[in-house]
């Protein structure tokens, strides 16, 4: 088990390294970082001095190490647009994103698993057909369209919920559902199909033969086994959450990292974009490792394998 965890962490570090290389490379492809902040009138000497102080005159690999050392010491640079240290900006925006994403995740769990399990238990019923429709729609609707339609229906037409911004629980409902929809659809189908497989196994038959009540068979014997399928997709779920939070925060003017990235992109604030991308990458890799460990916990065959 320990060897397994160490291996996963090493693989994760490799992924982070590659991503940092890509982000660094792209930041240099984007052209001279100075061009964005200095106007044409800046004197040659002034440019040269800045270039030296930023280390831009050094070879690329030295620049990369300088860049990485800064990142590791928490010096993410200063945003042009907000004129504040990026770390400060991130610290300010991160809680909003975490709040929304966790809420979306909770919604996903609360809705997707029970519906998936019930669809499998009541296969071919109207309930199952409805779930299927819901899922197919979820895979065909871009997140922003879901957000806009929900906003129009529940905030504009019915006036039940606020249209945008961060506030109380009511503010979270629409963006949370819109952010969670794709995952709900995906996990529901995954849970259903792996539940169907499990319900058909001999050990479930044996559990029935033992005379165990049906609810206990479904939720003890099947559910944990059925979880293994969707759990392997957890990193995918998280990827969808990251992507979705960028979109949904834009739709609902939710003041999180996603909205900040879009604002930064629109004002060509590369430093902020890079920092947030690196942060998401780190988070993503971390979640991946955590997923694998949870997976090993749920399925003993992997733990001892």
């Amino acid at each position: 088990m320990q060897r397994f965890i160490v291996l996963r962490i090493l693989q994760g570090l490799l992924a982070v390294f590659v991503i940092s290389l890509i982000v660094f490379a792209l930041s240099r492809v984007a052209g001279d970082p100075l061009a964005a902040i200095l106007d044409d009138e800046a004197g040659k000497e002034q440019i040269e001095r800045l270039r030296q102080s930023w280390g831009l005159d050094k070879p690329l690999h030295v620049q990369y190490f300088t860049y990485m050392r800064r990142l590791l010491t928490g010096d993410l640079g200063v945003s042009f647009r907000w004129d504040r240290p990026v770390l400060e900006l991130i610290a300010e925006r991160l809680p909003a994103t975490v709040q929304l994403s966790s809420f979306a995740l909770v919604i996903t769990g609360i809705i997707a698993f029970p519906i998936g399990v019930l669809s499998a238990v009541r296969k071919d019923s109207w309930f199952d057909a409805g779930g299927k429709m819901f899922a197919i729609l979820g895979q065909s609707a871009p997140t922003f369209a879901v957000g806009l339609i929900l906003m129009w229906l529940f905030a504009v037409q019915l006036g039940w919920l606020p249209t945008s911004g961060r506030g109380g629980f009511k503010h979270m409902l629409l963006p949370g559902f819109a952010l969670g929809y794709y995952n709900v659809a995906a996990i529901m189908r995954l849970t259903r199909s792996s539940m169907l497989d499990v319900l058909d196994t001999e050990y479930v038959k044996l559990a029935r033969i033992k005379g165990i009540p049906e609810w206990k068979i479904v939720w003890k014997h099947c559910f944990r086994n059925a979880l293994i399928g969707p759990l392997t997709y957890f990193s995918l779920i998280f990827a969808v959450l990251i992507t979705g939070s960028v979109v949904i925060e834009t739709v609902f003017a939710w003041p999180g990292l996603g909205l900040m990235v879009i604002e930064a992109i629109n004002s060509k604030d590369h430093i902020v974009v890079q920092a947030v991308v690196m942060l998401f990458a780190l988070l993503y890799v971390g979640i991946n490792i955590a997923t694998d460990i949870t997976y090993a916990y749920v399925d003993p065959r992997i733990r001892y394998g």
């Binding site: 729609l137 065909s140 609707a141 922003f144 129009w152 249209t163 990827a239 990251i242 993503y284």
Partner: protein
């Protein structure tokens, strides 16, 4: 010790055996089943929503797609008649300016379908103190889906938007497909370090949230048509590379490859003449399965302002424009959004059908 009967041990039970019997040869039932499963409605939706508008946008669209009539801005769709809502506006006008004559006149004009509140003499807009009130309640069939903030026809823009969606997805899939298929075949054919290296990159690429990568790329190379296509192609190639590599690995082991090699064919020739035709079905199926995904990607990038630049009529951009006026003018975001959902839904259904027909082993891709 086992009983030897003509039925194989563990052989088919009644129901299974029957199904197996049905699968033998081509029965009418099977042909009918195939016909019935063909996604007719999705195909029609695709043709009428995406393909015809995309090809004939210039001929079909009633108005210019990027130049609008500011006087007709934010007009609702043609079927919206001035009803209760206009009367509410009239009520509001009355609260502000208790000039009965002009209001009655206004009401009469509203009833007859003229959309602007005019003064007692019937000309011009009524000046109510500081605010000029223009009542745009009913729509006209001149603009069937209404107009946006700049008075551009939503329908015309949607038709041209279909062209953009189709063009971007075709080009991006073509580019990504060529890149991925080429690299996949190369990895399989060469093996060794190149294979291991490429597949590691594919792993990392497949694992990373694609929009983030796209955004970083867009920031790096600036937004525009070609950027969107390149960015999406870069997001797509990895899946092609992995699937095609798997297929090509199996094909490489077959006799005719050895025979070609013995006959002195060059590596490039073997790949193009012998391996490529054998993976072509898979390439096509992957492409159709990707179209929906690409349309969503393009629309999302455009929606975020990192895709097709304004004032081009991309569906995602239209939705972004519509978001700003969502409280008053639903038609600007609603129709493009519905167009995306319907197109992608249809494309997915069609892709599933095609996959089952051509390449059932891709079911888990």
């Amino acid at each position: 010790m086992a009983v030897q009967t003509s039925a194989p041990p563990g052989g088919p039970t009644g129901a299974v055996a029957e199904a197996a019997a049905g699968a033998r040869g081509i029965s009418m039932g099977r042909v009918w089943g195939e016909v019935r499963r063909f996604p007719v409605i999705p195909t029609f939706i695709l043709i009428f929503l995406l393909i015809i508008p995309a090809i004939f946008a210039d001929l079909l669209s009633p108005h210019h797609s990027t130049i609008g009539d500011l006087d007709r801005a934010l007009e609702p769709p043609g079927w919206v008649s001035d009803s209760q809502k206009s009367q509410i506006v009239v009520q509001r006008v009355r609260d502000k300016n208790p000039n009965e004559v002009s209001l009655n006149n206004a009401r009469r004009n509203l009833d007859s379908g003229v959309a602007t509140l005019v003064d007692a003499n019937g000309n011009g807009e009524v000046d109510l103190g500081e605010t000029v009130v223009r009542i745009q309640e009913g729509g006209s069939w001149e603009y069937p889906f209404g107009t946006d903030k700049q008075g551009r026809d939503v329908l015309s823009r949607m038709m041209h938007g279909a062209r953009i969606s189709l063009a971007v997805s075709c080009l991006a899939i073509l580019l990504g497909g060529i890149l991925g298929t080429g690299l996949g075949m190369l990895a399989a054919y060469r093996g060794g370090f190149l294979d291991a290296f490429l597949m590691r990159i594919v792993d990392i690429k497949l694992a990373f949230p694609s929009i983030l990568l796209a955004l970083t790329l867009v920031v790096a190379i600036g937004s525009g048509f070609s950027t969107v296509i390149i960015v999406i192609a870069l997001l797509l190639w990895a899946r092609y590379a992995r699937v095609i590599r798997g297929e090509a690995l199996a094909i490489r082991e077959r006799d005719f490859i050895d025979r070609a090699r013995v006959a002195g064919a060059s590596n490039l020739r073997i790949m193009m003449r012998h391996i490529f035709p054998n993976v072509f079905n898979t390439v096509i199926v992957l492409a159709t399965l990707e179209v929906g995904h690409v349309i969503i990607l393009e629309a999302t990038l455009s929606f975020l302002g990192a895709g097709i630049p304004r004032p081009n009529p991309a569906w995602g951009l239209m939705a972004a424009d519509g978001r700003e006026v969502i409280t008053s003018s639903y038609w600007i975001f609603m129709f493009p959004c519905l167009a995306i959902v319907l197109t992608v839904l249809s494309m997915n259904l069609l892709g599933d059908w095609l996959r089952d027909r051509l390449d059932p082993k891709l079911r888990n891709v």
